[in-house]
Amino acid sequence: MRVSEVQQESLTAEKAKWMYQKMVEIRRFEDQVHETFSTGTIPGFVHLYAGEEAVAVGVCSHLDDKDYITSTHRGHGHCIAKGCDLKGMMAEIYGKATGLCKGKGGSMHIADVSKGMLGANGIVGGGFPLATGAGLSAKLRKTGGVAVCFFGDGANNHGTFHEGINQAAIWDLPVIFVAENNGYGESTPFEYASSCKSIADRAAGYNIPGETVDGKDTMAVYEAAQRAVERARNGEGPSLIECVTYRNYGHFEGDAQTYKTQEEREQHLNELDAIIRFREHLLSNNLATEDELHSIDENVRQAVADAKEFAEKSPMPEANQLTTDVYVNYKPGGEE
């Protein structure tokens, strides 16, 4: 089933250039994290979003700060598309006091509630009920906001998928479930782990619209998301969009990726690449000029370099931060 056709708002040049900028920010940011991680400067482990930019940006271009998103362990792209500050993000990934979460969360838990970004998430499938709850909150508080749940193909087999979507459906909540089917849950192919042919097929079980789009075609994602967001804002309930995409890097940095073939990797890095394709779309539709795009590229390069420098120069958290932010109000020994 396809989301009911709504009046397609044509993409303005301004919006198109914003989208291009966000996509380039994600790519450049992730390439920078990849490069820096290999030097040992970044603690822990990171899961990079490069390659999947069209999904986060195509969807988030319909959202503003009153709308919520839930994310995954591969969350940097969602953060950037939802407007999180690059410096605060990079500092968080370095574990610095100036990070968006004061260095307490790291790459896997970056959040900015003021932007409606309810956190990257270390638990596969963690986002479904959280997005449903954010949708419930938006509906009851009558904010006009929606909630988007980004999730991977791995999570589509998790029990919370069923519980979260079913609840959103029975209550007609303003939630959009966006599957990022990048072909592999960790090192396991989608086709092995999932009994369905497509994730969108599963929408039928909840009596909600479900469609599959080329997740590396920014306009296809943009248009599908527009229909689903409109439906949600009109009080018509949730939708499911499956975006077929690919991650350019491994599951985590350090993954040898032997499960991928060289041929598929090269194809995705070149002719199927979302940024190359969106760039061509903008130029051929006179939505931007070469000069404008070049200038965006340069500005982003600088912004990411600035974020890296900011993170490097920022201080580590003070020792007293270890036990703060656990509660709002708590007396360890109880009331006197």
Partner: protein, 344 residues
């Protein structure tokens, strides 16, 4: 010198030994082989577990016995409970113990209780191998130490090895045991090497090991913290203080006798547990000694644990979170009433 292998390789060997001995032993979990159904990989595994601990097993035992699962912990842990109840002897790998949040029902309400509720007419010979521990910069949802939770559940046995040799012998025992065992592997121990015997051997579950003898003070430490305690004990030796380091190796059942005997000898007890400080193994062992060994004590029981907070990501904070030899020495200085210990 005897053969030295890593903690990870010791676990790999234990699984191999058990699988060779009994065809009902299977391993299932997320990417325990990896790359399922991919022609270009042939019989190779893509991962062999996220940390490579089960690498190579699929070549020997095949994909019917080394089963990659969807990322669906309730699904495969629950299936492992029932496969165990119906004649198999599964090993389910819960990649990080934090993921128990996704499958606690299968462990707590199903696996742990079936035998009792069925009046003894079922057994659950299941091992859940799971990774725990801070120090890996893995943040709050991949770094917890949750063995205390499982120790509180009747019907579950809980094993926490601290050395490669213990890991191998205890894991073989756990697999051959007819009850459900949750087997904790500290992710920061995987590369630690130690002497490990070849072939099949077992270490009984419920038997503590005295890792170092001493007369002045008992330090009971769990998992990786045994190594922290041993480091502290070496430093105390320079001060003429001989600490006895007791490794319970399993928390359920707990070898109460070995702990009580040690306290009877030393009259002082310190427990080192990297779990959060409330309702953990340290408080449990404290209660044991307060209850059954109160008359042996010359000083209050002390504990070194993590604080009552989630595990922080930032290295600056995570290093403060964990127990350390310095923290142990500071507490020992209170127990022995000698401030100079702190400055060792």
């Amino acid at each position: 010198m005897a053969r030295q292998i890593s903690f990870a390789d010791a676990i790999n060997e234990a699984i191999k030994e058990a699988m060779r001995n009994d065809e009902n032993v299977i391993l299932l979990g997320e990417d325990v082989a990896g790359g399922a159904d991919l022609d270009h990989l042939g019989d190779e595994d893509a991962w062999g577990g996220v940390m490579g601990v089960t690498k190579g097993l699929v070549q020997e035992f095949g994909r019917d016995r080394i089963l990659d699962t969807p990322i669906a912990e309730a699904g495969y842990v629950g299936a492992a409970v029932s496969a165990a109840a119906t004649g198999m002897r599964p090993i389910a790998e819960l990649m990080f113990n934090d993921f128990i949040g996704s499958c606690l029902d299968e462990v707590m309400n199903q696996g742990a209780k079936l035998r009792y509720m069925f009046g003894g007419h079922a057994k659950i010979p299941l091992v859940i191998r799971t990774m725990h521990g801070a120090g890996f910069r893995a943040a709050a949802q991949h770094s917890q130490t949750l063995y205390g939770m499982f120790t509180a559940i009747p019907g579950v046995k809980v094993v926490v090895p601290s050395s490669p040799a213990d890991a191998k012998g205890l894991l073989i025992s756990a697999i051959e045991d007819d009850d459900m065992v949750v087997f904790f592997e500290d992710k920061t121990l995987y590369n630690v090497k130690g002497e490990v015997p070849e072939g099949h051997y077992t270490i009984p579950i419920g038997k503590a090991d005295i890792k170092r003898s001493g007369d002045d003070l008992t330090i009971v430490a769990i998992g990786k913290q045994v190594n922290t305690a041993l480091t502290a004990a070496e430093q105390l030796e320079q001060k003429g203080i001989e600490a006895e380091v007791v490794d319970p190796r399993s928390l359920s059942p707990l070898d109460e006798n070995t702990i009580l005997k040690s306290v009877q000898k030393t009259s002082r007890l310190l427990i080192v547990d990297e779990a959060n400080p409330r309702c953990n193994a340290a408080t449990d062992i404290s209660a044991l000694v307060a209850d059954k060994g109160f008359d042996y004590l010359d000083a209050p029981i002390k504990m070194v644990t993590a604080p009552h907070s989630p595990v922080p990501f930032s290295p600056a904070l995570e290093d403060l979170y964990l127990p350390s030899p310095e923290k142990i020495l500071a507490v020992v200085s209170e127990l022995i009433d000698d401030e100079s210990i702190v400055t060792i």
